[in-house]
Subunit: 323 residues, 6 copies
Amino acid sequence: MTVPDVVTIGETMALLSNPRVGPLRHATSLDLSCAGAESNLAIGLSRLGHTVCWIGRVGADEFGALVRRTLVAEGVDVRSVVVDPDAATGLMVRSRRTDALTRVTYYRSGSAGSRLCADDVDCGVLRTAQILHVTGITPALSASARAAIRYAIEFAAANGVVVSLDINYRQALWPAEQAVLELRELARQADILFATEPEARLIAEGDPAPDSEALAVDLAALGPTQVLLKRGAEGGVACIDGAVQTYTAYPVTQIDPIGAGDAFAAGYLSGLLDGEPVEDRLRRAALAGAFAVSVSGDWEGLPDRAELAMIAAQTSSDEPVVR
Amino acid sequence: MTVPDVVTIGETMALLSNPRVGPLRHATSLDLSCAGAESNLAIGLSRLGHTVCWIGRVGADEFGALVRRTLVAEGVDVRSVVVDPDAATGLMVRSRRTDALTRVTYYRSGSAGSRLCADDVDCGVLRTAQILHVTGITPALSASARAAIRYAIEFAAANGVVVSLDINYRQALWPAEQAVLELRELARQADILFATEPEARLIAEGDPAPDSEALAVDLAALGPTQVLLKRGAEGGVACIDGAVQTYTAYPVTQIDPIGAGDAFAAGYLSGLLDGEPVEDRLRRAALAGAFAVSVSGDWEGLPDRAELAMIAAQTSSDEPVVR
Amino acid sequence: MTVPDVVTIGETMALLSNPRVGPLRHATSLDLSCAGAESNLAIGLSRLGHTVCWIGRVGADEFGALVRRTLVAEGVDVRSVVVDPDAATGLMVRSRRTDALTRVTYYRSGSAGSRLCADDVDCGVLRTAQILHVTGITPALSASARAAIRYAIEFAAANGVVVSLDINYRQALWPAEQAVLELRELARQADILFATEPEARLIAEGDPAPDSEALAVDLAALGPTQVLLKRGAEGGVACIDGAVQTYTAYPVTQIDPIGAGDAFAAGYLSGLLDGEPVEDRLRRAALAGAFAVSVSGDWEGLPDRAELAMIAAQTSSDEPVVR
Amino acid sequence: MTVPDVVTIGETMALLSNPRVGPLRHATSLDLSCAGAESNLAIGLSRLGHTVCWIGRVGADEFGALVRRTLVAEGVDVRSVVVDPDAATGLMVRSRRTDALTRVTYYRSGSAGSRLCADDVDCGVLRTAQILHVTGITPALSASARAAIRYAIEFAAANGVVVSLDINYRQALWPAEQAVLELRELARQADILFATEPEARLIAEGDPAPDSEALAVDLAALGPTQVLLKRGAEGGVACIDGAVQTYTAYPVTQIDPIGAGDAFAAGYLSGLLDGEPVEDRLRRAALAGAFAVSVSGDWEGLPDRAELAMIAAQTSSDEPVVR
Amino acid sequence: MTVPDVVTIGETMALLSNPRVGPLRHATSLDLSCAGAESNLAIGLSRLGHTVCWIGRVGADEFGALVRRTLVAEGVDVRSVVVDPDAATGLMVRSRRTDALTRVTYYRSGSAGSRLCADDVDCGVLRTAQILHVTGITPALSASARAAIRYAIEFAAANGVVVSLDINYRQALWPAEQAVLELRELARQADILFATEPEARLIAEGDPAPDSEALAVDLAALGPTQVLLKRGAEGGVACIDGAVQTYTAYPVTQIDPIGAGDAFAAGYLSGLLDGEPVEDRLRRAALAGAFAVSVSGDWEGLPDRAELAMIAAQTSSDEPVVR
Amino acid sequence: MTVPDVVTIGETMALLSNPRVGPLRHATSLDLSCAGAESNLAIGLSRLGHTVCWIGRVGADEFGALVRRTLVAEGVDVRSVVVDPDAATGLMVRSRRTDALTRVTYYRSGSAGSRLCADDVDCGVLRTAQILHVTGITPALSASARAAIRYAIEFAAANGVVVSLDINYRQALWPAEQAVLELRELARQADILFATEPEARLIAEGDPAPDSEALAVDLAALGPTQVLLKRGAEGGVACIDGAVQTYTAYPVTQIDPIGAGDAFAAGYLSGLLDGEPVEDRLRRAALAGAFAVSVSGDWEGLPDRAELAMIAAQTSSDEPVVR
């Protein structure tokens, strides 16, 4: 079996989404796919040519099969996935009430994915990886999932595996007070930290930062040597080894904003694995984000290597661009 | 508010179904509707011109809104429906692996519908009805739902409301041993009893009946004065006030077998409410079942009064039948 | 301009049909095409290699454009079509309540097509044709349409053009008594007469015929030298120049029964134009009918010459048949 | 039966619309819904929690059933709807030739809806309402419909019911000269008047107003104490009890402009019924309009109470907004 | 047979396109149409009321039938089309990786269309036309196709038929060096020349032009008296009989950029055929281009005469524009 | 890397199929999947739990990516697949003119898959396998593909790998005379031989066999110790180690006949790999074939182990079967 560049752990659910904008109650059919922040990132890294292993639990049902076959099709290593015979694969129902107002309902309480536990962390695989990537969603799922993430981070740290954390605060899943404490603690142990500006304000300590740059520095003060503060279409701020720099987003026609953060993290880690300088990592991250929002779905639009280059060659001439 | 001819109590879920025959994992979209044995029956009765009140719980979510607006659109009285702010509307995922092999997965554990309790039984409405209809699904959902059904039956019996029970044994929901005891006990208290032949064999007492006629008599021995033993496309046997008679199914091109039983019960109760003789009740029941299986969906194909008559006028000539 | 083998006159409407079996009120989209008995026949003849001119009125609207572009695409000559600026193209809404029960609603009262009048009959074209084909639908549309059909038949008869009539009785369009008188009168003037058995019984004079053969003879007694009595899947009876013979239908998997009669007429007239013996005309007619019912839509399944031959070559082996 | 806050009278038709932008003649399927300015408003008010009764005629056909079941599903009181056995439900065919160029064809001449007459005005219900809402479409449909609107307005005025009128000038339905006279006369009798700027210029008397504010005052001079002059995406001007004030539209990604005016009226009347001050009525009206244009369809996007509040909470962060 | 105003020669292929933006490999269905630069132009001219004859080869297969029936439906004269029994109709697979990045794959090597040869040029028809229109695509297909274009141009020139050439450089089809030589040679023989700015730079001789105006003059120096230099959404430059003038594009919501160039050429030639002054030709060309990009598909959005006028009448009022 | 139980070699193409029965020229969209006799078998074996390696060439295009990701998703080993930068992935267009008449058009001449050559045979993998499976399609594709199959068979024979051959005669791909010689020669070298009855008659030597049993013996006389003579819905005849026995097909509602043969071969080889007795191998083969035809698509319906068992448990009761 191939050694994975990256190991990531989390829950991936079946995703049902209303293909039309409007009240879900009027829908007569829903699109079916699957999604999870960590597996989105895994697909992103795989498409960019890295080996990546996703660890999680799915039910012994068709939605679980959908999750596994999708990841396998995308080249993600699923050898450590646990098929839980006693729980169903989680479900996520998504709709857009208006173009700008997305609604999500979860059927994940007690789901196979939420039953993740420390025993599921495949240490044999994890110790061979360069990077462990986790998000702030998993510890919100259950006590055992929280324990799994803590254990994975400790094991990674102890074995020289770089720890990457995307805050991904989901207020629907746990109380803000509990979340802040847990997420801040995880951030302290991370080497690389991804956060949106509201998330950064949530977990940064001390007086409120006057601006994004200061906020990134505040996050770095928690411990991570690489802090990526994301500001959506406005780009963001990076604080890498103490040096602060801003980056801009790539302008595109946005079709679906979901998944941009996972794409950004995938692009950044890809650049890091390739030994690229910070500037190029940020460019790759922004480009991956641009691809992600250009296509409907959480991960469907993620670019491969050839496409990263191709976007630069795109023309506005009358002749269609030929691959 | 109108006085309902029939009150029925149960859980109605959002229904996601694979529009194509084949493995669900290959589906890229699922059809969305809602379904529940009791509300299917309620729709059937409403279309046939009766007033019917459905009691149940839905979540304060879009799927709950879908359930309510569908029932309202079909003329079902939802005044006693409880919107539960603390639980999601249940979900049912259905697919056909082959034309003959249907698979169902439920997301109904802890659902709003399964939190039905005795307090939800609207006695003010129930006491005004002529018939209470329940199924053997509800007691399988939770202890409180079981209590609700028991309470409703007792209240009905005490207030001169006829009790109708459709066995509807769902082996995925509870252990067979528990089911048998509970369902047999409910059957004893019913005036009208609907059962498939396997269900009848499950709950009948004593030595196995040699044939369907004897089996219907065995069921009647439990207490119900009207027993309807359903044998699918082969018709069935009725034991009404001690008299046994067989009936035949109406031959049609079957598109979707689900919902035939609920349609049959609706047709039978409709005839009963109209004071029709047994033979005509059975004919109406079989005709309603024929309509139900002629159309995709659990309840979409149920007939109204005019359509019951129209089917007789259908011709095979070159000229299309004009309404 | 090419000389048409056949001229046909009638109304062609936009056709909206429910793609699913079930109540139309549940539909969220309707399929759009166009249909008319005479233009169905025109398409059938054109596909079989004959030149055919369809005369009718359409509105100066998109549905009228749809009708014209469909006929043009199928090679039908539309030079004599009138675009009526003062009326809308007729509309036909069709659904199947069950597989066997079709419902049709018309929006054709006052339609452009129903405003057909004697002046619309393009005598310059008609006199060059070998056959005029009309149906019993058109005289039911309006007084002016009735006059147009009468005029066309008289003009054809006076100019040595063979008159072909398909009874096509539509009870939704006019009272039975009026229809009988008009249709019987038209039948008297026809050389070729197509009728279903119920239609034949409607217009035949004298005592009811004991069987189909006698009924065909009764029709011939009205005047037509070629009578085609259609009995659907059971085939039918022909009375040609006094000789009675039966024919059988071609067994196929039926998808949509509508249009079989028009296909049959097209196949028969095609054989006649080719100078085929009666037996071969009937075989071609039955084959065209088989193709028509094998495909959804009124005319979409009609065969071309090559396909007529191909059906004979079809195999049931594992290897797909390659054209 | 519940007492309605608002009674509204008009025609609701089946609506067939091309789901793709482009020539309708290329379409192979059309979306099916129903629409009518008055019932759009009724749905808007119902969703906002008000009781509303819609009066109109539909045919005894599936499209009529579609209209009734849609309104019932949306909580609109249809007790006074007349099912006309002698006429078909009207039809509206809509397509967009380009994003900005909408085309509508009506099949409503002689429709059930256009046969509305004074007798259909359910005075028993109307006298209990607080507001009667009518539009300038209905008097254009037929003489009897015109009489119905006049009668309803007179009856309302005589019984202390506030009269609300939306001009809704449809040039396809009647000559401009006739329309001006009739609409101006109706405006004189209205308490509340909604009009677009072109409509206002059409019916205002005297010299052309130099600007929108002056135009609103001119309209108020006709009689109405509440004048709402709508200027689309630019907001508009209100002249309430003599006081002129402007309002702004809510900026959204527009998917379908149709129905914005009906939504605005629903929002305004909702605020009025709630006793809100003018500023809040206008804000609710603008918000309802914003929701309407955010979703495809005339009424599908209309907001409920909870959603009105929710739009304020919408964020642009990476995390989807969770209901 | 009608005398064609314009004759055009080229290859038309079946077009399969991914209806969703994103990787083609995820698609589960593809839209089917047909497309070819020359037949797009032919449809454009036909819709604008001109007679136009398209010459090309298709296979004796369903895709060939699709091409022919589409052109016939659009009123294009296909009398000279060759049905090649020995080769398949070419195929074009198109998808959009992002909104701005189109990908095309051809299955046209050895296709029927690429087997076009000089013998296929129907001189009898060509000599009666006013204009011959060809593109730089055809000579890239094969040696025989190249010969056909050369022969057609020579024949046209010799018979007083105006020669119109759209450069349409397709780098996927042939090497740049070969293309430059061939295209420049063809341009020398053209009376009317259409080129995008990159194409113009490719074939213009001498030092690079400093700006678009100079570039247009450089093209004119090759021989054509009418040069149209297209700059997409920015409009372009015309050099007509030595006079240089710029034109602007018509601003619209763009849905599909493909086909704009063909539409522009159709609009220009239409104006020329009508004897319009240069300014009006350019306006019609820009308007046709605007329609083309407003609708999905290469030619589906092309305007007819009435629509050219209608776009001016479009309003932004609340009332839908009624045809 | 896992050692494969079976290695198979062939061409897999993108598959475009008309979702509706009828002329392909009327289609406006085509379903997209991929198909190839050998990869269908590979998927069938993989689902039944065996390791299987598919060897073939695909283009460096999206259709090639579709082929690879589909096979990867189904667990097929694609390590030896060659991505050919110089040729496109083959294409197959399929439609059903009637329910019983399938048409296929290939775009595979010069395709990547047809450029398969002896060098592509991965001997390192092949020598570790238990079975090599090839079909009579591949040698028809090109001289190099023919050489590849011959080489693979020789290498397998020399290395103790069992050779399995499915005749799969495709008359559209090569002349019958050439095919007979080549296929007969390959059959001589096979250990296991699958053939339909017409294929058997084609390649058997000597006088025509009087019946299927004799025909199977004739095939065995060519060399194979295991001959499977398939007779579609009628079952077939096996001649295994000289013993002749018949088997019956499993009766199911057939949705799509294509792929039944590949499924049969997969089931048979699966049983063989499991060391099952002949009777059980035949039963598994027939069951796999039944699943294949129950679902639309060449391979989508193939069963996994659990499903093979499940079909036996299917009931016809009113209660849906729950997995």
